[in-house]
Amino acid sequence: MLEKALVGTKRYYGLLAILAGLFALGFLFYLKQLNFGLGITGLSRDVSWGFYVAQFTYLVGVAASAVMVVLPYYLHNYKAFGRVTILGEFLAVAAVTMCITFITVDLGRPDRILNVLKYPTPGSVLFWDMIVLNGYLLLNIVIGWNVLECERHSVAPPKWIKVLSYVSIPWAVSIHTVTAFLYAGLPGRGYWLTAIMAPRFLSSAFAAGPSLLILLCLLVRKYSKFDPGKEQIQTLAKIVTYATLINVFFFMCEVFTVFYSQLPDHMAHFQYLFVGLDGKTQLVPFMWFALVGMTIAGLFLVNPKLRKNETTLAALCGLVIITTYIDKGLGLISGGFVPNPLEQVTEYWPTVPEAIITLGVWAMGFLILTVLYKIAVSIKEEVKS
């Protein structure tokens, strides 16, 4: 099937060239980071995780959201999603690959990454994160590839693929739960020390991931002969609607607990993010935009007229993607580190090299996504004719 990735239109090659170029640029800056150290980023003693870890966290959510197409299809026999499961699975493959790359890029000593296997430490959540992420990557490659191959030859997928598909459902939940546990079990970080962290991660994932999938479906329809389907997009839209609203609700639950209990070391982080602390207000406009934007997007999506119109749907999905990205990317990581455990405020903002490396990893991910989608769409077109 790989041969399908090698032939395409000029536009396809052009897109690949642009993505490869951005990836190469990011790689050059990464070489600089390897040489100088992570000091080329905006990270500090006080805010020791930043942009890279934020992208990682966000993309784990995108990857996990493949379950939103796999689950209805395999557990509820919702036939319509049969057309798009492959798109969900291949999106997961690209997203998990980016996750693993972001973690590697964030390491001070990437040359020692295999120490995690050499000295396995089951007490560390990071150890489990490594296992679930790599496992999920493998599952989606194997399932996606085999199902597509079977579709091409018009045969039913073998039974073991079905078993793996069932396994991939709780596995998807596990990758985001374990990622939330990276944060939610640390005694000194009030912003993260909350049992609703994993549920919030899942709700924002199931809002952002299917939103991205809707946009990708619309693109696929526009630029290929394969139509993922109106019904499919509308079902995804309903998932986005309620996941977004649940995400806002979970956030409000958190706000209630923190501000009604008045625990200072929990409130301080919210104060920093939404009103500023010690005169440091860098993230305030972003956080308000995220919160208000997410709420508006959720409420507007409830309205069937706005949801059924694919133009407004696409715009609202875009808003969901941006607002959840700000909330989970910028806010979650910085917010957890500011103020520091000594209640001092050091702000964080990514540097240019850091942003270019980040862009490079995204380009790599979208390169993988483009190639995989090209294969999937070509097979679908072939089967149709």
Partner: protein, 270 residues
């Protein structure tokens, strides 16, 4: 031909997997061995549980700064704010980001956040508290480390193996005291004088106070204790006759964020 290409790749892949698993198995069979192990010399200081009592009443500001300086000198801790060579001078904000601190001073409301009353003894309000790694009995940093690069010794010291650390900085997120530093850039040009008794660090690893494990192994007290003119005592919590136990019996002490359940092993007399 004996094997075809497919078979060869299969065998090669399997043996690689076994090879990786094999190293893991060795670690399981002989746990606790680390690359940078300190072998105690004859006459080394030993304890069941090392603890530190800092008598802030006896510690003047000057001595506190000298303690921090002594610690940083014998551990080759870089000084990004005041580099030895003026040409290396960094923008203060950048120097602040890169900072490496093992032992430093903080005011009460930073060292003990949430515990400061609105009106407190003036002397205490302006007092410089020496802060460092608390060598928690229940250390979150050890719990989160994915490679056991930070680990707890039998005598309670929370140690760092900087040769094993992958630089993921999970321990920095885990530490509720902000006691850990990362080498964001090559620290060596910023080390004032190279002290031969302790290695300098490479980029990309985390470091922190080790209760001077390397000095204890030579029969020496920690550098800060030696410099403190008696304001810091160090000893075995399990030994009833030790000076630290004597202090803990005699004075009321407080610890930083003890409510977090980390059981910090640095005690303060205020």
């Amino acid at each position: 031909m004996g094997i075809d290409r497919r078979e060869f790749i299969r065998i090669a892949g399997l043996s690689t997997l076994l090879g990786l698993g094999g190293t893991g198995a060795f670690e399981l069979l002989a746990p606790g061995r680390v690359e940078a192990e300190i072998i105690p010399a004859l006459g080394s200081l030993k304890a069941k549980r090392w603890v530190m009592v800092i008598n802030q009443k006896e510690l003047d500001d000057n001595t506190a700064q000298q303690c921090a300086a002594a610690c940083h000198r014998v551990h080759n801790v870089p000084d990004f704010l005041n580099p030895p060579d003026a040409k290396l001078k960094l923008n203060p904000a950048v120097a602040h980001r890169y900072q490496v601190k093992w032992l430093w001073t903080e005011h009460f409301h930073n060292a003990f956040p949430g515990d400061a009353p609105a009106h407190m003894a003036e002397k205490v309000e302006h007092m410089n508290f020496l802060v460092l790694c608390n060598h928690c009995q229940n250390p979150p940093c050890v719990r989160v480390c994915p490679t056991k690069a930070t680990f707890q010794r039998d005598d309670g010291i929370v140690m760092m193996d900087m040769h094993r650390c992958i630089g993921c900085r999970f321990c920095m997120a885990g530490c509720p005291y902000g006691s850990r530093s990362f080498n964001w850039r090559d620290p060596r040009p910023y080390v004032k004088e190279n002290y031969p008794g302790y290695p300098t660090r490479e980029i990309g690893v985390v470091e922190k106070c080790t209760f001077c494990a390397e000095r204890l192994a030579q029969g020496l007290q920690p550098a800060c204790v030696e410099t403190s003119r008696g304001a810091i005592v160090f000893g075995d919590l399990e030994d009833e006759k030790s000076e630290v136990r004597e202090y803990l019996r005699k004075y009321f002490t407080i610890r930083r964020k003890a409510h977090l359940g980390t059981n910090p092993q640095v005690y303060y007399i205020v």
